[in-house]
Symmetry: C2
Subunit: 550 residues, 2 copies
């Protein structure tokens, strides 16, 4: 039974990569846009990749779950950021994990951490591996004898469903599609659809504070958690299943966003939802971007809670929604499992009209029986059409030395004007300097809050073969500087990992850094958990505090 | 200018206490209900209270903000729980603060903490003093040379309003009414109305994860915070103003609920809202309590987000809403600043009808101009009528040795049936044993979530003069046992303080206790901040860790 295989260097399934014809079409359109030749390199051959030999052998008791296979080690050397794919594609893998562990039970995870903590071996928790911030990269400096990447995808079951409270106990290594497959027969959905859905896990979502596809209210994984179970080097921690509690600072909120630096999430009780039946959507066109922003702000402050409220600037509307008249496009949607949301949409469109928004194609209403919704997989199906192919396209662009990446943030509405114009002038200037002519940057909102939007920027530009990573790092540094100096966060929903550490340390309060190091010292006294992520490597507050407290 | 004075032993303004006639009416109705005499004691005389002399003198530089006045010290000896009022009333004040500090600036707070940390003096942050869990009580054991209660109510200004993002920078010592008074001229409201509104501060709300009057979505103070500024013994910490951020675990969420054990909140950027104009409300009657629960659950799972969704059992409906036919009453409300919510209410009432809910008085719709809303203070005005007098009534009941207190929790819907019947059988049994005949317990929901309700129980029973605290402690212990063993939390929105510590330590994961102690060690190395709250006094993980890490 030959299972589908994931690309060890690129985004997804090997057999889902763009075909030769699609690649050629993309290449000619990009070559025309950049007005230059775009030579095409062949995908790399794993047989020619020479990995450093493993520096450690597992104890016999742990051997059955361990792999030192080249495919496994190469595939766990990077996440899936642009710079990861470029490095994998070019066979540049100096820091592979020494071993990849595939635990199949929580007991396996406990045994693994016991061994690693006692032997001074770094542990890199690995869910779907879709980190775009260096969160799963085993490059941990010289302080560890070896590195084990812990692939949790065999902890993949929905264990229990509470239909009265609408909640489910779910193992953390389950990938998005399998999770939905297990909930669907019961009529439920977690309704959490990040773009990485196909290759990310519940545990990864929790550890990185994932943001789902929906624009408002219950879209962050943080708000869907009832309780979590976590294995740390100091023991197992489980919080109480509660819909709400004011008993001290939230235990779960310390682990949400902890990115594997405190422990490994093994399961969680999650709030689930009835599958949506009633849907209404509309595309609102604005001649002036500022009108679109003002309308979006007004909707976000009117407590209507749209499920979709995605403002695409003219460039984004052209490249991803086929709008060619220079309009700004606001994609609006409402949905419900039990009642039509017609009135909600009317109210939102009244607000848009006050800001010169037009709806040339009218409002689409869908009122489906549950059976119908099951058939096309509802929101998942819709979302797939829009998003799922994008990362496969990026793999193809890497073959052409094209730079294609994104950065995202959030800021208050009063700061957005300057942040946006800072990016839209600063990044093209940086692209011209670094890449020459032909690159572009576009913007959409992925989420909106009453007090501010989460803008998401996409950059595409011609690169030079062999220099892509350095070029992107320079663009990214320019972007981060603009974002931080204009009141944004270094990340709204992509996490910190290793790549964002310099800016994270500038952004978070210093004292919080010390408090977090104190918490880490209590849970991970030997400092083996995802070293260098969140708590800086070798910092006095990190391992130093750990040894003193331990 | 003789300012209104707060009672040093009871709930509120001295001149708002129940008059002799009201007290007599209350006494005769309770005497009839209990079928026994209820002798009435006179309020205590501060002149006859003998406080332990202060054990410390402040340095000259701090003297101007310090008081050793008996009224100030007596008034800061307890919070406002039932057991606090009883102890104050009876002149039982063995642990007064040695000094009460009234800082008028953040610099004052910094200087104060510097002195206390270096001199080993315990610091009790004090906002409005309305804690009902021993959170502001200076009973900190023998490990400290003295105790200073830090009254923050002179940090009481709204400093800045951002009308674009709808947010305001607010000093943490401002009491509820003054905060709303400062926002109202700009057309805004924080829209956070806990029952303690009149005598609680923004900083107290943040430090205790206060729950507002509203039933769903944006009602917890946690969700209204953009950023916080906190003075700790290790320095000042300020988080970045952001509508959302996935950069590591949330720094604010560690301080939300920290109850003064990590530092003193001095100011915060808070999300504010337009003042509501459109309102619709209805009282739905159910013959069977279980139908009321099922309807409430269905509404909470339908993403309608009512502002009010308060299910009163028959006892509560009789005592606080004048419903005398044994019905369960669901008080439903929707409101909005910009659009009528008629459709939202219709949908909710359809759900109620499916569960045999009737609306005998029909739906009330209010559509007011903003000017009108200002005049009657909108939600505040309404809320005041319903709630504000209750704690004054309790002061009067203390004079009659009547036990009158509440406990509250939250649990998942699947656990609610057993938790509720556990309380409704167990507490009357406990009351009969401890108080004899005549007591009662009633239940309402203060908040509802898709996965569970937050039930709030009120207990009234005859006490014995001189034994009230011991009797209540026994009732409370029985209640806590029932709540915890049935899957509830020891507190949904009353915080932990000193009173809930035994159950909090059972409830929170042990490893989280150690992580929190590690964080405290980093921010409060000398362990002087609200000692004994959240991190147990003298625990190895508390002061021990602090000294090792410091």
């Amino acid at each position: 039974m030959p299972a589908r295989r994931r690309s060890w260097w690129g985004w997804g399934w090997e057999d889902s990569a763009l075909g030769a014809e699609q690649v050629e079409k993309l290449r000619s359109s990009l070559a025309a846009a950049f007005n230059r030749e775009l030579p095409l390199a062949d995908p790399p051959d794993l047989g020619r990749v020479d990995l450093r030999p493993p520096r450690v052998r597992p104890p016999d008791a742990l051997s059955p779950m361990m792999s030192s296979d080249t495919f496994d080690r190469a595939g766990h050397t990077y996440g899936k950021s642009y710079r990861d794919v470029v490095r994998g594609f070019s066979g540049n893998l100096p820091h592979p994990p020494d071993l990849v562990a595939f635990p199949t039970s929580e007991a396996d995870v406990i045994a693994l951490l016991d061994w690693c903590a006692s032997a001074g071996i770094a542990v890199i928790p690995y869910g779907g591996g879709s980190s775009v911030v260096g969160g799963v990269e085993p490059d941990v400096g010289d302080g560890f004898g070896a590195v084990v990447s812990v692939d949790l995808t065999r902890l993949d079951r929905v264990l229990e469903i509470d239909e009265v409270s609408r909640a489910a106990r779910i193992q953390a290594g389950v990938l998005g599609p399998s999770l939905e497959d297990q909930l669907r027969p019961h009529g439920y959905t977690l309704r959490h659809f990040p773009q990485s859905f196909e290759f990310s896990t519940l545990g990864g979502w929790l550890a990185t504070r994932s943001g789902g596809h929906y624009a408002t209210v219950y879209t962050h994984i943080d708000d869907m958690v009832e309780s979590m179970r976590v294995v740390t080097p100091a023991g197992v921690s489980e919080s109480r299943r509660l819909p709400g509690s004011g008993a001290g600072p939230s235990p779960d909120r310390l682990l949400l966003g902890s990115e594997g630096a405190l422990g490994i999430i093994t399961e969680a009780w999650m709030r689930i939802q009835d599958r949506p039946v009633y849907k209404t959507s509309a595309g609102v066109h604005f001649g002036d971007y500022r009108d679109g922003v003002a309308a979006t702000r007004a909707i976000s402050q009117a407590a209507l809670f749209p499920t979709n409220c995605r403002l695409l600037d003219a460039g984004e509307a052209m490249t991803s929604a086929g709008v060619h008249d220079g309009s700004t496009l606001l994609v609006l949607g409402f949905e419900s499992a039990d009642h039509p949301r017609t009135e909600w949409m009317s109210t939102a469109l009244e607000i848009c009209a006050e800001h010169h928004g037009a709806v040339p194609e009218g409002v689409k209403e869908v009122d489906r029986s549950e059976e119908d919704v099951r058939d096309d997989e509802g929101a998942v199906g819709e979302w797939r059409n829009a998003f799922i192919r994008a990362p496969y396209g990026r793999d193809a662009m890497v073959r052409m030395s094209v730079i294609a990446d994104t950065f995202e943030t959030a800021c208050t509405w009063d700061a957005f004007g300057d942040l946006h114009s800072g990016v839209m002038t600063g990044i093209p200037r940086a692209l011209a300097e670094i890449c020459g002519s032909g690159g572009w940057v576009t913007c959409r909102f992925t989420h909106v809050y009453p007090d501010g939007p989460a803008p998401y920027f996409t950059v595409v530009a011609p690169g030079r073969a062999g220099s892509e990573v350095a070029m992107w790092d320079e663009i990214k540094a320019a972007a981060a500087e603009i974002v931080l100096s204009n009141g944004g966060t270094i990340t709204h929903h992509h996490a910190v990992g290793r790549d964002h550490m310099p800016w994270y340390q500038r952004q978070r309060p210093d004292l919080y850094g010390r408090a977090l190091a104190g918490a880490k010292a209590a849970l991970d006294p030997a400092g083996v958990m995802n070293p260098g992520v969140l708590v800086p490597l070798g910092s006095d507050a990190g391992e130093g505090a750990a040894s003193r407290l331990g």
